[in-house]
C-alpha cells in the first residue's frame, strides 16, 4: 500500500509540475548587475490579495479579496498554517460570497511519526503514519447567488491526510473528509433549510508551489452527501465540485506580486450545473 501511494504520488507530481523542483515559497531577494535589490522568491500564501477575472464565455466579471497569512515552523515538528481572513468574492451578475475565517493546518514531522505520551513513566507510543495529518476549518460564510438563493455557512471542518508530506508550505496532496453545517433559503428567511454534512464529504486536493514560489497549481475535487432538513421534509442531496487553477507571477511592483490566474471550476447539485472558466489578474501586498 505504501509503495503504491508513493508511486502514485510521484506520477501525479511528474504530470502536474512537469519536473519542477519541489521547492517551497520563500522570501528570496537577489541583486542585479547594478546592485539593485529585487525580490524573486514569493509566498503567495502570505499577501493581501485583490483579484479581478472574467469568464470569456459569458463576459461575467469576478472580483475577490482576501487577507492571507502563512506561518510555518522551521525545525522539529512543523505546523504549516495557512490563514485566510475576510475572503470575499463578487460577480457582475449580483452574486457574492464572504468568509470570515478559513484556515488550513498541516502537521509535518521528519519521520512521519505521531508520538502519543500515555504515561509519564512509560515510553510514549510512536505511530508511524503514511501521511501527515491536518485540519481545515471555515467559519462564518455567507453566499448569495443571482437567483436570490442564499446560504450561511455556520461552520465547516475537515480532517486531512497529506500524502506528499512536503517540508515546506504550499505543497500537499491531501485526502479529506469532514462535516459542515449551513443554512440555506430563497429570498426570505421564512423557509430556512438546515443543511448538514455529517462526515459524508470526501475530497482530494493537490497544491504545488514551485518556481521560487512564483507559480502555484491547485486541483481540488470533492463530493458531499448532504442532509437537507426543511420544515416539513428531510432529504439527501449530493454536491459535486471540482476546481483547477494555475497562478503565476509575471510582474512585481515594489516587490508586490502581480499574477495571472487561470481557473476552471464545476459544481453540480440537485438543481443545477455551474461551469466557470475565468482568466484574470491578482495583485497582492506581501504580508510575510
Amino acid at each position: 500500500m505504501k509503495a503504491f501511494l508513493r508511486v502514485g504520488l510521484a506520477l501525479t507530481l511528474a504530470v502536474v509540475t512537469s519536473g519542477a523542483r519541489a521547492e517551497g515559497p520563500e522570501r528570496r531577494i537577489i541583486q542585479d548587475a547594478e546592485g539593485r535589490s529585487l525580490r524573486v522568491g514569493f509566498d503567495l500564501g502570505s499577501r493581501w490579495l485583490f483579484g479581478a477575472s472574467v469568464d470569456p464565455r459569458t463576459g461575467t466579471g469576478h472580483f475577490e479579496h482576501a487577507l492571507l497569512v502563512r506561518e510555518r515552523d522551521d525545525e522539529g515538528i512543523r505546523w504549516k498554517l495557512d490563514h485566510a481572513f475576510l475572503e470575499g468574492a463578487a460577480d457582475t451578475h449580483g452574486g457574492w460570497s464572504a468568509t470570515l475565517y478559513h484556515g488550513l493546518f498541516l502537521r509535518n514531522s521528519g519521520d512521519g511519526s505521531l508520538v502519543i505520551p500515555f504515561s509519564p513513566t512509560a515510553p510514549p507510543l510512536r505511530i508511524v503514519l503514511p501521511a501527515d495529518l491536518g485540519f481545515e476549518v471555515a467559519l462564518g460564510s455567507v453566499a448569495r447567488t443571482p437567483g436570490e438563493h442564499w446560504t450561511v455557512g455556520v461552520a465547516r471542518a475537515d480532517l486531512l491526510f497529506d500524502f506528499w508530506r512536503a517540508e515546506t508550505a504550499g505543497s500537499y496532496l491531501a485526502l479529506r473528509t469532514g462535516m459542515a453545517y449551513e443554512l440555506a433559503g430563497e429570498t426570505a428567511f421564512a423557509h430556512v433549510q438546515h443543511v448538514v454534512t455529517p462526515f459524508s464529504r470526501v475530497g482530494l486536493d493537490l497544491m504545488h508551489t514551485f518556481d521560487s514560489g512564483r507559480q502555484v497549481v491547485l486541483v481540488q475535487a470533492a463530493l458531499s452527501h448532504r442532509m437537507v432538513v426543511a420544515r416539513d421534509a428531510t432529504a439527501w442531496s449530493n454536491l459535486l465540485s471540482a476546481h483547477a487553477s494555475w497562478e503565476g507571477i509575471v510582474l512585481a511592483i515594489d516587490d508586490a506580486p502581480v499574477s495571472v490566474l487561470a481557473e476552471l471550476g464545476f459544481d453540480r447539485d440537485a438543481d443545477r450545473d455551474v461551469l466557470r472558466a475565468t482568466i484574470g489578474l491578482r495583485v497582492g501586498v506581501p504580508t510575510d
Partner: protein, 351 residues
C-alpha cells in the same frame, strides 16, 4: 492685424535675438588678464562698467502693456489694449531636488474690445515639484528572467487661492458674468524637466471650488474638476528666450447648487514666447507674443458658447530678475547624471 505691426514685431524680435546672442557670448571674450571677474551673470565692458547679462524671469515682478486682437464666437473681431502684471518667485532647494513656484497677484486685463471686458486675476498660485531620489516604483518582470525596471516620480502638488474671472459684454443681456474661484488643489506629474526644473512639461489635475454669478443673480457654488498639460522652456543660459504653453480643460459641476446649473465646459489653450530685448538699470524689458484659444460655455455675459481666438503682442518691464543660478543648475546636473550636459529624463537616466 495689418502687415505694418507684424513687420514691426518681427524686427523687434530679430533685434532682441541678436542682442541676447551678443550678450550671452560676450563674457567669453574676457581674457585671463581680467583683474577681477565680475559676479556671475554680470559683464564688465572695456570701460569697467558692470551690467547684468543673465536674467531669471522666474523671479520677478512684471508689468506688461500690449495690444490684443480677438476673434469672438459671433464672427466679430476687434482689438484693444491689454495689461498684465504679476509677481513670481521660484526657489530650488539646497539638494536641488525640490522646486517651488509662487505666483502672486497676477492680473490680466483687456478693458475694451468691441464693448467687451476681460479680466482674470488671482491672489496666489503655488506649486512644488519634487524629484525622488528613490524609485517611485520598482518593477520586476519575470518573463525571460527576473529584471528590475525603476520608475522615478517627478511631480508634486499645486494650489490656487482666490481667482477672479470677469466677462462683460455691454451689448448683451445679461451683460456680466463673474466667477470666483475660492480655492483649487491638485497634483501634477512632470513628464520631463531639466536639471534645475526651470524647463518642464507636466500634467496637472485637480479640482476647484467656484461660484458663478450672472449680472446680479445670487452666486451658485460649483465644483470644478480640471486637467491641464503645461510646459515652460528656457532655451539659453542667459535666460533670454522663454516659451510657455498650456492646454487646460475644466468642467463646472453644481452638486451643491440648484439643478438649473448645467455642467459647463471651459477650455483654455495658450502659447507664448518671450524674449528680452534690452535692460534699463539691469531691469529687463521683454517682448512677448501670445496666442490663445478659449471657450467658456455660458460665461460671456449670458449663455453664449463658442471659441475666442486672440493674439497679443506686449512689452513687459521686469523688476528684480536676478541672474540665473547656473551653479545650482550645474550641481544638479552632476548630482543626477554625472554627465554635465545631460538633462534628466523621467526615468532618472541621462538622456
Amino acid at each position: 492685424m495689418g502687415q505694418a505691426p507684424v513687420r514691426l514685431l518681427v524686427t523687434l524680435a530679430a533685434l532682441a535675438c541678436a542682442t541676447s546672442r551678443g550678450r550671452a557670448e560676450a563674457p567669453t571674450d574676457l581674457g585671463p588678464s581680467a583683474v577681477e571677474a565680475p559676479p556671475p551673470g554680470f559683464y564688465r565692458d572695456a570701460e569697467g562698467r558692470e551690467f547684468q547679462v543673465q536674467f531669471d524671469l522666474n523671479q520677478r515682478f512684471w508689468l506688461g502693456l500690449g495690444y490684443r486682437h480677438t476673434f469672438f464666437e459671433d464672427q466679430t473681431d476687434g482689438g484693444g489694449l491689454a495689461l498684465d502684471l504679476g509677481f513670481r518667485v521660484d526657489t530650488l532647494s539646497v539638494d536641488t531636488r525640490k522646486k517651488t513656484r509662487w505666483r502672486i497677484l497676477e492680473l490680466d486685463l483687456a478693458p475694451s474690445t468691441n464693448g467687451r471686458l476681460r479680466l482674470d486675476a488671482s491672489l496666489m498660485r503655488f506649486d512644488t515639484s519634487t524629484l525622488g531620489d528613490r524609485p517611485f516604483l520598482a518593477l520586476t518582470t519575470f518573463i525571460g528572467g527576473p529584471a528590475r525596471h525603476d520608475l522615478y516620480l517627478q511631480g508634486g502638488w499645486w494650489m490656487d487661492l482666490l481667482g477672479v474671472e470677469l466677462r462683460e459684454h455691454r451689448h448683451a443681456d445679461p451683460s456680466r458674468a463673474l466667477r470666483l474661484r475660492y480655492a483649487a488643489l491638485g497634483a501634477h506629474w512632470d513628464l520631463w524637466q531639466d536639471a534645475d526644473m526651470t524647463s518642464f512639461v507636466r500634467v496637472r489635475v485637480g479640482g476647484a471650488i467656484d461660484s458663478r454669478m450672472v449680472d446680479d443673480e445670487v452666486a451658485k457654488l460649483s465644483l470644478t474638476p480640471l486637467a491641464a498639460l503645461e510646459g515652460e522652456f528656457c532655451f539659453d543660459d542667459a535666460g533670454f528666450h522663454r516659451l510657455s504653453m498650456s492646454a487646460a480643460a475644466e468642467l463646472e459641476l453644481a452638486p451643491l447648487a440648484s439643478a438649473d446649473l448645467d455642467p459647463r465646459w471651459r477650455f483654455d489653450q495658450r502659447l507664448a514666447y518671450e524674449v528680452i530685448a534690452l535692460a534699463i538699470d539691469d531691469q529687463p524689458i521683454s517682448l512677448r507674443l501670445e496666442g490663445r484659444a478659449t471657450r467658456r460655455d455660458g460665461i460671456d455675459g449670458g449663455d453664449a458658447s463658442g471659441w475666442e481666438l486672440a493674439a497679443e503682442a506686449s512689452l513687459r518691464v521686469s523688476l528684480w530678475a536676478p541672474p540665473r543660478d547656473l551653479a545650482a543648475r550645474d550641481a544638479a546636473r552632476r548630482l543626477r547624471s554625472g554627465h554635465a550636459d545631460a538633462p534628466i529624463s523621467p526615468s532618472g537616466s541621462p538622456r
